[in-house]
Amino acid sequence: MTDIEDQLRRYAAATSRAQRPVELGEVVSRQGHRPRRLLVGAVALVVALVAVGGAVVFRRDRDEPRRVVVAPVPSSTPVLTPRACAAASLHVTSTGGERLHAGWLPPGYTRTEGNQNDLAALANITYSGPATGYAWRVSLIRYRSGAPLAQFVMGEPTQHITVQGHAGIMTGPARPGEDFTFVAWRPAPGIALVTAGWNLHQADLVKVAQNVSYDPGEKFTYPVRPVVKVTRAEALRKLGRSVAGTRAALTSYGELTKIIGGRLPKGSQAVIPGVPVTRAIWVAWTPSSRRSDPSVENATVVDAESGQTIEGLPPLPGGVLGNLTDRSGSVCAPPFGVLTRTEVSYLHHYPTGPTSSLKLSTQGTLDANPVFANFAQCVNFACDPTVPVWLSVQAAAGDRYAPDRGPVYVPSGRPVGGPTGNTRSGSWTMTAVDARTGPQDTGLDGSTSGYGRPPADIVAVRDLAPSP
């Protein structure tokens, strides 16, 4: 018998040999093309640029705004009459403008992770020390939860302290170099703030906590019927040309940036100072007819209330803007700023067919159902039950599923490999994503699977935005 260390080396080597590396193509196809987080940076810029009063632009270059040419387009009147359906009356709320930053840090500490000016759901700001190494850092974390503070910290002993006038606790060793030290307090009901220090003196961590600045932001409700004063014809006129095939869609800023987020040319970025994700906008575009350059779309964006013209969008691949849902007229769609069926299908490459379903539901529905318990993986503990969620269920009756071998799906007629006694027929996979756009998107992307047919609880989930 060899020593344990040798056994471990052989085990690791054998595991590596037997294990198929993850392929780049697999990663890409697994995600499709979901440019989610580009939006966070874009919206952060919104907040920053509002302060300097910048114009509302999608900045492609510094050319003068194009001259407006009134084209002979048919006249129409603003029409926004959402079809009566559950989605159109969905009550969705979020928080915007939430800020968290350190007012004091030990010398040499700089921010390395997180956005201080718009926390989004994953509210974690990390500052790293001057020394190289991950172990020298301090993090500020915000939890949306009324749970006891002890749930947000680790270690012993627990001491009671006062932080900025609020009762708090502190855990961890008195000296650095011994794991974590935590300070937690509750600045407001339902909110817990935590400072976590690695290799930081307790006194320094307490000083960090005492100087943390937190702005809870403001809660807002997503509008089902935002103010729309601009007609489709007026929006099309802003394009400055009359070309066959010119199109326009009434949508929201959040949906537009989500759809185009990953399709911007390198170095380009959507810059929309002060435009909330729920703002109604017209997007008008003319697909390129040049055979040599079929991927370019000329587009312009118009504020649907003020009529303010936004400069042209950067060049985009053909067909991208066609994935926006035109919310003018009578459509069954969730509130502005929430992805529609068409949009989420495009972003996530959800398949269609008799064995697939895509339903709009809510976080509250998932939480109340035992099949979905913990499905959301809510990064902020207390998920708002109003969060709209797109739920995709795909079934593959021809697959075999080996529950005791991890996530293995074996097509019918092929050997499973290894023990096959537990192999079951059929498999199903369910995924759920946050339907909101912008920093309010929690990044929820849970999935689960099983054998046989999808559970009845899943099948029975009500679709709030059924297909016409």
């Binding site: 018998m1 060899t2 020593d3 344990i4 056994q7 471990l8 052989r10 085990y11 690791a12 080597a13 054998a14 595991t15 040999r17 037997a18 294990q19 198929r20 590396p21 780049l24 697999e26 990663v27 890409v28 697994r30 995600q31 979901r34 440019p35 989610r36 987080r37 966070v40 940076g41 930053h101 350190a102 840090l105 500490y109 700089t110 921010r111 390395t112 992770e113 201080q116 500052y127 190494g133 991950y134 172990a135 170099g177 011994e178 794991d179 974590f180 690695w198 290799n199 913990n374 499905f375 993986q377 529950p403 005791d404 991890g406 996530p407 290894g418 992307d445 999935s447 689960t448 099983g450």
Partner: protein, 160 residues
């Protein structure tokens, strides 16, 4: 106070993928076993692909994605046996009791001892991955080795 880091050197996702995937897979496999470890790695790399603009400037990409892999597979792990009860046929020279003993270790001990002795990671690298101190890593490794020796009935001085 806003301490924005300066511009970071650019790296393509392909280069990043080739550099990070093996180490991330080793770490997550150490924690969850070969099947779920691979699945968690794929999920984490997919997340990185999706959030590349956010991942690219990170100083500790592997450590961050290690946590992403844990989060993204939380639901899957609830239903599955992570470590097979018996070693695969590809492991003829591995003590059959080792995998069960590894699976029985606390997660941190299992990750630490597998990466240090199985994959030759330094204590510092493991510490960075797990967000703990190097001395704590050493403690985990020592305790894990002692537990494994007892489980496999290997005397402490039985070295070659």
């Amino acid at each position: 106070m806003d301490n924005d880091a300066g511009p970071e050197p650019e790296e393509t996702f392909e280069v990043f993928f080739a550099r990070v995937e093996p180490r991330l897979r080793a770490a997550l496999t150490s924690m969850y076993g070969p099947d779920m470890g691979r699945e968690a790695t794929a999920e984490a790399m997919a997340w990185a692909y999706e959030h590349w603009s956010r991942v690219e400037p990170m100083e500790h990409q592997v450590a961050y994605l290690f946590r992403v892999g844990q989060s993204r597979t939380r639901r899957l792990r609830r239903r599955r046996v992570l470590f097979p009860a018996t070693p695969a046929p590809s492991m003829p020279d591995v003590d059959p009791r080792l995998i069960g003993a590894l699976a029985a270790l606390p997660e941190r001990q299992r990750v630490a001892v597998t990466l240090v002795h199985g994959h030759d990671w330094s204590h510092t690298d493991v510490a960075a991955l797990m967000g703990i101190s190097a001395s704590t890593v050493a403690t985990h490794v020592t305790r894990a080795v002692a537990t494994l020796r007892a489980a496999l009935e290997v005397p402490a001085d039985d070295r070659h």
